[in-house]
Amino acid sequence: MGEQSLVLEMTGIRKVFPGVVALDGVDFRLFPGEVHALMGENGAGKSTLIKVLTGVYTIDGGEVRLGGEVVHINGPLQAQQAGISTVYQEVNLCTNLSVAENIFIGREPRKFGRIQWGLMRRRASELLARLDLDIDVSAPLNTYSLAIQQMVAIARAVDISARVLILDEPTSSLDTSEVAQLFAVIRRLKADGVAILFVSHFLDQIYEVSDRLTVLRNGQLIGEFKTEELPQVRLVEKMIGKELAALESLEDKAQRTREKVAEAEPILQAKELGRTGAIAPFNLTIHAGEVVGLAGLLGSGRTELARLLFGADKPDSGELLLEGKQVNLRDPQVAMKRGIAFSSENRRTEGIIGELSVRENIILAMQASRGWTRPIPRRKQDEIVEKYIKALQIRPADPERPVRNLSGGNQQKVLLARWLITEPRLLIIDEPTRGIDVGAKAEIQKLVAELSDGGMAVLFVSAELEEVLRLSHKIEVLRDRRLVEELENTSDVDADRIMQTIASGATS
């Protein structure tokens, strides 16, 4: 990787938005055949830098060189022509069209104006074969898993222009085996000499796949490092700009309060509760002040279980007791009135209302339970909202800003605020830390611990075992839509122990 072979060089990039300097003198470089991770918290400037590269934003200073020549990228099309392709977090393809159509949409091979379907399918198969993917290219895209869809998007991107490939959070909705599959593809492309810019919040993945990383913080360049020379802890410190003391102090908290919890009254008891096709009948007891973690792979029934406890879906067997009394949660509002809160894993589609302001999003659940005839007085709204913006450090601290303009971590905090103001006795949070940065993650974990210390029961659903282990008093392990084991989170329980259960399904 000699200096002369640089494929992309950005120097002194500056981008200013009204009132904010989003990028201030940032350098970034890419060599062919390397995976370069762009690191930073939400709001550090990662997205802005990518948007500069893809021509969504024009820069206010600095220069971009592609293959040694200065280029001005004025739009996504120009970026593509210059050899820069992007695959985003959410697959931006037409899932109702076939795989081949998706790869060639807008540039179908034609003869006399007619599309040559046979040729198109053949070329699509060849392209995917290069990524070690052997699938029926005439089947609609939505018949395949998200991982395959992701790879189809990559195949398309690589075929259009193969010099620089930007992967923006490609793994956030994939499970472990799918991630492995994706990484195999990335390594193959790397071997072909493609320069890959990789963004992910999963540090383990960064360390697994990247050669080099550039860290940004608050729009400024912190530095460029070789991945193998920078330990994870140091990386995190560089990203958040402070020591990780907050996180470490959490470690033994779970142990500390377990005795107290066992004596508390159960808040919720599920007896043989189940829903056909979603989750097999299960038994579960949650006490006041207890954090119960749900562990399991994607699609193991974690979310399905959580939704039953909130009345988001109706059970078709078993019964549910709240504080000893049998209840029928007909819809979410009934559950809410009984002191249950539920924050969905799909932040953008089932959580926030993007168009509404931070204030409106925060008061929404409370207002819904009061009914439309009893509006919360504006002064009280402002009071509550201001308090929670401060307590959860929601940024920017502007209650009237549309919530869709906030970063993922801050949106998650808005959702937490929405539920905390309803003062629930049981808080169900599904993947609250997915796709958000390390700093915000630590804050949310700390908050969960504090809430449970204060007597709130929490059902914590997460794909990250470390997180479940750190916070939970009790861990419920799910596999194939079945609750297979309940583990007291004692000191001998670790990620390996849980992985074993997930892998074997044994109820030892």
Partner: protein
């Protein structure tokens, strides 16, 4: 410059321009005759009442991400019900009986709205299809009610709601004002507006936030039906008959246009009552002006279309940027 950026600036400017044109071309803009206000301005305000009412209901429906195509047919039904019952009265000038009949006609319209709401919110049919059913069937129902005839009525009290005056102002105009005030209070003084916008923004997220989306969705169709019924009464009282064929014909398109001009997006979410009212009055003023300035009748629809296209373009930020951007130094900044 901020006033130019307000999305209602251009519609308002065009409305003012239309009114100015009217003031010069018509012999009377506003005058006092027999203690009432008269003139083309008053005609516009009075004539826009049915559209304002229908567009109000439409605004709420569109805010939830739906659409109501059946409003014209509901107008026909309510006019038909009212005229049939009035024509059966021994004394058509009995105020009490006419009031009762108005209540009945509106109740029927609310029922029609409930049908729409049930199809959308409970059965889960797409709004455009669900309301298309009543749009087509509704006129049939209205014709069945009137037995295929045009029913004429000679009722003073009934005619009053369209052509009468109260405190020097047209009754129809006052009805529309009352409806606007009612809906504004209902949506902005209670939490209804917020819940509506939330359901329109994301029905799934709203349900999980504990909002009973179905109830709210059903309700907006009921309200839309009720306002359409009221508009139908004003329409039929104006011509003193029930005309099932032309009552409210194509008004759903004008109403949708009024909502869009007013800045409410068709995909649902944020809505603006003031914008809708402005849009409705603008459309009515346009119709009146086209006639007043002497555009030949066969060209009026085309002329109207040109103005509407110009208006919609003027509201598009991207278009303004393209056309005027090079003349001004101010740049619109994208916000991350």
């Amino acid at each position: 410059m901020t006033i130019l950026k307000n999305r209602l600036f251009w519609p308002a400017a065009i409305l003012v321009a239309l009114l100015i044109v009217n003031a010069f071309t018509s012999n009377q803009f506003v005058t006092v005759r027999d203690g009432h206000l008269f003139g083309s301005l008053i005609d516009i305000l009075r004539g826009s009442a049915p559209l304002v009412l229908v567009a109000l209901g439409m605004t709420l429906v569109i805010a939830t991400g739906g659409i109501d195509l059946s409003v014209g047919s509901v107008m026909a039904i309510s006019g038909a019900v009212a005229c049939l019952l009035i024509s059966d009265l021994g004394n058509q000038n009995s105020v009490g009986s006419v009031l009762l009949i108005i209540v009945i006609a509106i109740a029927v319209s609310l029922l029609a709205g409930l049908w729409n709401g049930a199809l959308v919110a409970l059965v889960g049919i797409q709004p455009i299809i669900a309301t298309l059913i009543l749009m087509v069937a509704g006129r049939g129902i209205a014709q069945l009610i009137t037995d295929g005839q045009i029913i004429n009525v000679q009722s003073g009290p009934y005619a009053t709601i369209a052509t009468g005056f109260f405190l020097a102002l047209p009754v129809a105009f006052l009805i529309a004002v009352a409806a606007v005030v009612l809906i504004t209070l209902l949506t902005r003084r209670t939490a209804l507006g917020l819940l509506l916008e939330s359901v329109g923004g994301s029905p799934t997220a709203s349900r999980l936030a504990g909002i009973r989306s179905r109830r709210i969705t059903t309700m907006v169709y009921v309200v839309s039906g009720g306002f359409a019924g009221l508009a139908g009464l004003i329409y039929s009282a104006n011509i003193k008959s029930a005309d099932s064929i032309s009552a409210g014909n194509l008004i759903e398109l004008d109403a949708i246009l009024a909502v869009v001009i007013g800045g409410t997006a068709l995909i649902g979410g944020r809505f603006s009552i003031a914008g809708t009212v402005l849009g409705a009055v603008l459309i009515q003023a346009l119709g009146v002006t086209v006639v007043a300035v002497g555009v030949p009748p066969e060209a009026t629809l085309l002329f109207k279309a040109v103005v509407v296209v110009a208006l919609c373009l003027s509201q598009s930020a991207a278009f303004r940027e393209k056309v005027f951007g090079r003349f001004t130094s101010t740049r619109t900044e994208a916000i991350a």
